[in-house]
Assembly symmetry: C2
Homo-oligomer: 581 residues x 2
Amino acid sequence: MLRSNTCGELNINNVGQEVTLAGWVQKSRDLGGMTFIDMRDRYGITQLVFNMETDSSLCEKARKLGREFVITVTGKVAERSNKNPKMPTGEIEIIAEDFEILNESKTPPFTIEDNTDGGDELRMKYRYLDLRRNPVKQNLALRHKVSIETRKYLDSKQFFEIETPFLIKSTPEGARDFVVPSRMHAGQFYALPQSPQTFKQLLMVAGYDRYFQLVRCFRDEDLRADRQPEFTQIDCEMSFVIQEDILNTFESLAKHLFKTVKGIEIDEFPRISYDDAMKYYGSDKPDIRFGMKFIELNDVAQNKGFKVFDDAELVVGINAEDCGNYSRKQLDKLTDFVRKPQIGAKGLVYVKYNEDGTFKSSVDKFFDLDALKSWAEKFDSKPGDLMLILAGDTDKTRKALNELRLEMGNRLELRNTDVFKPLWVVDFPLLEWNEESQRYHAMHHPFTSPKAEDIELINADPGAVRANAYDMVINGVEIGGGSIRIHNKELQKRMFKLLGFTDEEAQSQFGFLMNAFEYGAPPHGGIALGFDRLVALFGGSDSIRDYIAFPKNNAGRDVMIDSPSGISDEQLDELGLKIVK
Amino acid sequence: MLRSNTCGELNINNVGQEVTLAGWVQKSRDLGGMTFIDMRDRYGITQLVFNMETDSSLCEKARKLGREFVITVTGKVAERSNKNPKMPTGEIEIIAEDFEILNESKTPPFTIEDNTDGGDELRMKYRYLDLRRNPVKQNLALRHKVSIETRKYLDSKQFFEIETPFLIKSTPEGARDFVVPSRMHAGQFYALPQSPQTFKQLLMVAGYDRYFQLVRCFRDEDLRADRQPEFTQIDCEMSFVIQEDILNTFESLAKHLFKTVKGIEIDEFPRISYDDAMKYYGSDKPDIRFGMKFIELNDVAQNKGFKVFDDAELVVGINAEDCGNYSRKQLDKLTDFVRKPQIGAKGLVYVKYNEDGTFKSSVDKFFDLDALKSWAEKFDSKPGDLMLILAGDTDKTRKALNELRLEMGNRLELRNTDVFKPLWVVDFPLLEWNEESQRYHAMHHPFTSPKAEDIELINADPGAVRANAYDMVINGVEIGGGSIRIHNKELQKRMFKLLGFTDEEAQSQFGFLMNAFEYGAPPHGGIALGFDRLVALFGGSDSIRDYIAFPKNNAGRDVMIDSPSGISDEQLDELGLKIVK
């Protein structure tokens, strides 16, 4: 090694030792008689001292070192007079005796600091410099830690990590595939997996009992802020299980990760049905770090002459504690918020519960003290609180109130990123109606099993059939989901039919799976956790991009390597392809 | 869980317990009064007993169970009268009290046995059934074990596993890329990585110091028996290292794997230069499980009137111990062997060292006793041995003798798959001349650094420049290779020039890397180990395909899922592509 120690490990116990360090020049301070250099590597920062009195030529040379120069330095560890208790190496410095420049550096286009002056674009282009910054380094260190602890845990539970292929087959179900033209079979294509779903099911048919894989997946979707064309899943499957076994196993995994990575003990995950999640939070991924559960008011608020309520399918609200003192302006802002097109409410009804037991509301004209008192009882509201009420079509109103609830959670600082509140959402519907295609789509995917007690509804009332499907939700983020699968060929056929597949389509796309089911498929189920999202959550961030070493931008481009890009005509010829624009 | 125990864990200590097992019917024997069923899961096989006397209807039902039916069975653990010491569960059996069929099975197209009657094609098509067989299951279990131990070890040495992108950029250097058409940027393409080479170097520039990744790589090559279009690498890179550090680090990793996975302690790896490997073994991946090092005979065998030797650039042979009794027929077979087109020798000279101290050779006409005695001395040959000699052009003769040496190793059973002899081959040439393109190609890759002491030769005698490059070779298999990289922009430019890149080509393909080198690139180097091959070696096999869950066939097809295959016109339209045949 070109060093005897790293820049993160020397302390007071090393004083007097002769050491060699290697790293980057973080910053340099010339104090006349002395020059101090902060030298950085992955492990930390150590202060170097060059003294004009002891070695003026070395000191002169050191003064010429620019930011991000790579050097090795040899010297003696000394106790600092001016200690820095914030740094692990803050009690010592290196009295430099010699150094060598291993590589020079141009001045970086932005500062390599925790708070850099570089914009998003620039940092993406020079990602290798952005990656030098401490916050990004910590993100990738966290990612490594979560991955290794995931593997250790699942290995200890007798899961095998089994690699499934990346060059697979395109299927029109689900999102759009990335495809890979075959040269040996010109005109034919592989597809990159959106998930290893069918392969993990085949591994269960093959008797592997417990499978997992940290695996890259690909979706050619129009990108949103928090989406990447390639992303990583913790993909898992188990045999001879019921839903309860999967929930317990992966709840334990999550607890293990919280404990080993964050040092946090987590209680048993609450479970809530999809119906209740929608009823009480207006979302299938409720953030339960705070209360403000929805209270439905139809029975007390309708038929009192207020047309907005009377015409509504649902009148529903939340109680914001201690917000009774909201000003007119604050309330107007909330009204503006719910009226934004992406929220979609027509208006907002508020009721202030005054300290004197009276009420002040936007609907005083229609409701008297007794009426409002009965609302307050429903809300379990106390003087000083603020009730916020929406009305309208059930689904839309719930969706809007969910947004308002989250907004209030933000305003009241109830969504602390250091607090983690996981839960399971269970009993998802098997199917959802798609207006555009005028048919049912699988809510989870076409391999999800219906609940045994609901199977008889499949033909009569498909929308009412519940599935053995579940989501793990933490702090309002869907970390993962899964289901108990269908393991019976006939039921799988029936599902494909329900989803609008012809027999031929089902056979050509999933024939291998249905054939496999003829040779003794065990009952099985699994889950897939979004690894990027899990790590981002652990890191206290919403954005997965900050937790990916080399992410793509919102247009799906890697601006650092300039990809995608053109390929040669020879390559196109070999693939039997022509570009038509 | 649908079971209380697995089929691999019950033993004499569990006698009397009431248990529920789940698994597959491996086989069934009807002995009239009793029916025995071997029930299988991933963990083992347990014998079930159904008794006509105690429960005739249950026994009748059990008799109808076909091979590979999936069942759960409840019963009591009992001591067997007829114990099977070869099975971990061989001391007990389950007296069945009830069972349930979870799924039926058609009769599999081949037997699910260690030695199956299924041919290659059939087993590939029904891979999910082939995967049920014990030898395949052991291969994947081994693969899991090697991967988890690799990660634990590298994690303990402060390596971060960092995921690099799969959708990258096509570069014409090296093998052919698989490309991925972009829909959002129609007419442009991503490429799948042949290795994360440039990304891991960028991670070193970014200061990550120690990186590894178990990562899928892709090469669109015409396939040979032991090649797959997608394969897995243990990809590693370190900063502030010299070659010695890399060799020590990954030698330790290999020793750790041998110890934890195979229970074998391995001595320090010998190191041999590329030149010596070629001189003494005729191969840069010598199998040193056995001797038979090459002995060159030019000085004692030439200029004695034997034209074949006199005209040869090299006369070289091996000594096969105790083979002096080879028959005429055996020797003819060896001659036929070396004359095969893929071996390419014109003929074989043999010299038998008789027990009485005389010699019998195919060149008695040209060489007398003294001459042959001088050969024997060179070979360190003793009475009873057989000397085998080839002559001709140096490279071709060495190559042919390498094949003959390996063949003799096989015949003499010196290539025991339970014995592991790793070594390092070092000091590879930087460049190799390519006849076809009439220019130098990088022997390793264009980022490999020349040895400092050879840099001055780069212009005068490029072929003589040695590289800081090394291969890990075990039992004649190249398990991996790597190099200390160039970290200087100017030297990298010079290399690209030497390799026939124009400045524009170098810039457009590797500009991001060369730009990165301007911002303080540390000295760095690394290695990539072929994970599939390493696991196959541990398993005692030459074929990587047996160690991949879902391999492709030699035509690059997955015959199970029938891929590659056609895609829809809509998909092609979206990608702006047309198929031209």
